[in-house]
Amino acid sequence: MELSSKVYEKDHKSIRAQGGLSMGLNARTNERIAFTLLTLSAMTVAGFVVIILAYIIYNGYSVISIEFLTEMPRMRMTQGGIYPAIVGTVLLIIGSMGVALPMGVMAAIYLNEYAGETRTTWLIEMAINNLAGTPSVVFGLFGLALFVKYVGFGSSLLSACLTLSLLIIPVIIRSTQEALIAVPNEYRDSSLALGISKWQTIRHVVLPAAIPGIITGSILSIGRVAGETAPILLTGAAYFLPRLPDSIYSQFMALPYHLFVLATSGTNITQNRPIQYGTALVLLSIVLGLNIIAVLIRRHYRQKLQI
């Protein structure tokens, strides 16, 4: 407050020193510079996205075929398809969302609707914030120590899903909390005034109104789960496994790790390039496809709520 008023004073003095007309010119130039900079930043970001997408599609589309999508890898992964990696990634998404979504949403409901402003709540919020900023490889090591070794799930789909859900729970809690805060208190009050209990109010009025926001959080999480490599590498992803996981205790292949393997190991890295780009393209398409589904669900709920 004090600082900003000082800054203002200084600006004010310098503007006065420049006199009336030059001040006008100065303001207009400033405006033009700011506008140009902001536009350039936006264009640059959009440009990079387009370039990356175009590059991957251009290099990868040639290998995309029914065979590529539905067959096991062969010949040291230089031929055949990436079917097990696709299935692995989809299972990871389903498994980790299945754990993280209910837990995250319930935790957010507790924090937002029930917990008071106590020291404990403050500590929980701090922990969530720190968790959200923790590097994913740390989650991987933690998952390795806890789920793989200590609990004894072994290097498995289960361990990897649990590890990934820890990674995304903070994201889901945060976005659910924001969605809950956005629900007007009038809804809560008028439901309670009808002799509806607090939990029923949350279930029938607050949560439905918050669903679009919760889905937005889930969209972010799906991308995260599909793309993370370090946590699954340490907890269950296989280097090469030409079959589908037959239980939650099996190891599995997953697209990001498969991509890493194709791009860094083996003898024919250069020759494998198209397969690498093809794999990246499939990974991107899965994430994009799931995002589109989530956006459609969100739109459905928004229309239902007439927001």
Binding site: E186, Y187, S190, S191, A193, I196, H204, Q306
Partner: protein
Amino acid sequence: MTEVVQNIAQPRVAQPHITVGNLNLWYGEKQALKNISMHIPKNSVTALIGPSGCGKSTFIRCLNRMNDLVKNCRIEGKVLIENKDIYGADVDVVELRKQVGMVFQKPNPFPMSIYDNVAYGPRIHGVNKKDINGVVEGALHSAALWDETSDRLKSPALSLSGGQQQRLCIARTLAVKPRIILFDEPTSALDPISTSRIEDLIMNLKKDYTIVIVTHNMQQAARISDYTGFFFMGELIEFGQTRQIFHSPKEKSTEDYITGRFG
């Protein structure tokens, strides 16, 4: 009951529905209600008037314990509804609020269809599925909204006009079948025509319900109420029949407020 409640404000009525005795309320350190005592008669409209911040809204929120939701709010004294202390240890607040409905200042229907808004309460309270239609229709009739909405019950409640939304909120309250309805400035966000419709509605409802209404609008209190209480600085200055309060107030500050000298 009168032993419990001393220095009770007039009028002494034959059939008090709500009796308030020595009610004090604090928000943190600040005392918002000071020693309020009154009988609110059954099947009548009781209006509470007074300048902003005088405690009238705080007061009606004590009658369905909505103040329980406010942090640092402390209440002393007694509120008896049908001779039962609603602040007693054995009282189920959820059950109490079924008996004492409330309509708020801003029309606040849920983001659902018209039908679902009215059916919301009865459904959760476990009213038989085949009876719900009847309850909804009855409530919309009583709230004078049936003719306007019977052909579009499935359309969103938020597509209604402000006045219709407020009547929908009244229908939603009626569907739960309360015995008392509290109105917290129900027309302050509405245009004059919608306001007069709500006023007519409130006067009709007193046949079946005991009504307490907080209002900023003195003409409104004079038009629709049987009894009027004047609140000032957290105290109930004067309480009596509306005619008496408006024609021959006993207290100087009541007269000053009614004649528009302040507030």
